[in-house]
């Protein structure tokens, strides 16, 4: 009798263990791949960042943090750092605010042609980064389309050399980035706005709240988690900016618009390859992404 009552319990245990094991088997390939393709290289990146010498003959540098010290004396690196942060500080807020405005306009119930507007604003996301960079580069060329149109409209008296001017080149990159990514962020906002009860807005309108107030007092607080996610994603993306720097301005004029990733690529493969130094710079990006994400999460939590 007693053995009979124990038996099913025992077999259920093994059944559950077997299922748990099946679960582990299901997630094993993906987990191993991520460890192999992400965490393992991360550790290696740190080790390489302490080394110097040719790619075929790397050895530990003296002192170990020599590559990290060198960064702050490297003018091109400091320029690339400054450029990347310029893009980050201007582009990310402008883009996110624009995306919020678009989303709240498109979320209006009585708006006509909603789908058409959404498709149009979202369309830039379908283009390859390299492709749209080249399109913008051609449009903003000295003898290009933008200058031709601005002169025809008498907004300019002579063509502006956008891509050969340090400020102009950075401005074009920022404009291009905003063009490419605003619709993408808008979709995030739009889909979470759909879960906000519309009657809140109606009540606010009856109370006389202006659309601007509705946006800052109702929509933004309710969307805080998703705004945080998009802010972290955009920060991460901007710190890694590469395709635009290469295909739009080629880092020029004279490295005035080069990004950190672009400079790291050049250090790794283009001029005399210096794997140790490139790894040190890339590890710095990793640390910056981590710190900025942590700050954004902290700030997002408080408010």
């Amino acid at each position: 009798m007693s053995s009979q009552s124990i038996q099913p319990k025992k077999s259920r245990m093994t059944m559950e263990q077997r299922r748990s094991l099946t679960g582990w088997l299901f997630l094993l390939p993906a987990t191993i791949l991520i460890i192999w393709m992400s965490f393992y290289p991360m550790v290696r990146a740190f080790i390489v960042s302490l080394m110097r010498g040719k790619p075929t003959a790397l050895e530990f540098s003296q002192p170990l943090w020599r590559n990290y010290q060198y960064m702050f004396k490297d003018n091109v690196f400091m320029t690339s750092l400054k450029n990347t942060f310029t893009y980050l500080i201007i582009q990310v807020p402008v883009m996110l605010i624009l995306a919020l405005i678009f989303a709240s306009l498109l979320n209006q119930k009585d708006l006509k042609f909603k789908g058409l507007f959404r498709t149009c604003i979202f369309l830039p996301c379908a283009t390859a980064l390299v492709s749209y960079s080249i399109v913008f580069r051609t449009m903003f060329a000295y003898d290009g389309f933008v200058n031709a149109i601005l002169i025809k409209l008498h907004l300019l008296s002579e063509p502006v050399n956008w891509l050969n001017d340090p400020t102009g080149a950075k401005a074009v990159i920022i404009i291009a980035l905003i063009w490419r990514w605003t619709g993408y962020n808008m979709v995030f906002y739009l889909s979470s706005m759909q879960s906000i009860d519309y009657s809140i807005y109606e009540a606010a309108r009856i109370d006389g709240a202006s659309p601007m107030k509705q946006l800052t007092r109702i929509t933004m607080p309710l969307l805080k988690p998703i705004i945080l996610v998009t802010a972290i994603m955009s920060t991460n993306g901007t710190l890694q900016l590469y395709d635009e720097s290469v295909a739009l301005t080629n880092g020029g004029p004279a490295n005035a618009s080069i990004t950190m990733s672009h400079y790291i690529y050049n250090t790794t493969f283009v001029t005399s390859p210096n794997f140790g130094y490139a790894a040190a710079m890339s590890f710095l990006i990793l640390i910056m992404v981590a710190i900025l994400s942590a700050i954004q999460m902290k700030v997002g939590d408080k408010r």
Binding site: V48, V130, I264, F275
Partner: protein, 274 residues
């Protein structure tokens, strides 16, 4: 009263005007790029906005300068391999994380999510070393391997597996299906929209990726479409009609997918954060 109605109308007019202008700005560069593929370099730079008759000439010149078919073939093989493998690998992992979840599996999931914060450039140097040591340079496997398992897709499938009714699993177990059969015969068919969304977003990302193929694809035979397009603008004399024809060929597959699967694409983006 009529004043406020007038004001309301003016506001609505301004709003539509704003949306129309913004939609125009969003679409215009793409329209211009497609149109320019039909025009000569002088016409492109001069700002011609209607298609001309030079498309065949531009494509002919493009074929002469670059190995367009090789690049297209490579891009399609790379992309389709990534889509097939990553959907299989990540969907079964997401299912495993959700359906059999316990304390330790949740912890592993949390760890994997951390890798989303790792910027790719930070891994570029060691990845290049690893892949050249394994002999994966210039090969499809070199392109495919890092993209098979992504935390984004695992999260997408895990979050969607939450809506999969547990009763179906129990019923299937009673019917004598084993766990893998339940996944293949029950989960996969019901989750078709999620697979469509994941396929769309993976296709776009792989097709458009540029930095990684540039790191490991070093021969002319392994070039991909975005690399080819970037190569077009490196010469001293740039034929913009040809460049725009190349950009158009590179962009068409993703635009077509975008229009067919726009809904699932937006759902994929939205579903990733639910």
């Amino acid at each position: 009263m009529s004043g406020s109605i007038f004001k309301e109308r003016a506001k609505r007019f301004l709003m539509y005007a704003f949306l129309i202008v913004m939609s125009f700005i969003s679409v215009f560069p793409l329209y211009w790029c497609f149109v320019s593929a039909f025009n000569t370099t002088q016409e492109v730079l001069g700002g011609k906005l209607v298609p001309g008759g030079h498309l065949m000439e531009n494509i002919h010149n493009l074929m002469e300068q670059q190995q367009v078919f090789t690049a297209l073939k490579n891009s399609f093989i790379n992309t389709l391999l990534v889509v097939a493998l990553s959907l299989t690998c990540c969907s079964i992992a997401g299912y495993g994380f959700e359906i059999y979840h316990d304390k330790w599996k949740d912890r592993v999931m949390g760890l994997l999510m951390l890798s989303m914060m790792v910027p790719f450039v930070a891994l570029m140097v060691p990845m290049f070393q690893m892949f050249s040591a394994m002999g994966f340079l210039n090969k499809y496997i070199g392109f495919v391997l890092p993209s098979i398992s992504t935390p984004f897709l695992i999260m997408l499938f895990r979050n969607n597996a939450r809506t999969f009714p547990k009763e179906i699993i129990e019923a299937a177990r009673v019917d004598g299906l084993n766990e893998l059969q339940i996944f293949v015969r029950m989960f996969v068919p019901t989750m078709r929209p999620t697979y469509a969304a994941a396929a769309t977003i993976t296709f776009m990302n792989s097709w458009n990726s540029y930095l990684w193929p540039r790191v490991i694809m070093k021969t002319n035979e392994s070039v991909t479409m975005p690399m080819l397009v970037a190569n077009l603008t490196t010469g001293y004399i740039i034929d913009y009609g040809v460049v725009m024809a190349g950009v158009t060929i590179c962009t068409l597959p993703t635009i077509i997918i975008f229009f067919f699967l726009q809904k699932s694409f937006t759902e994929a983006i939205a579903g990733s954060v639910k």
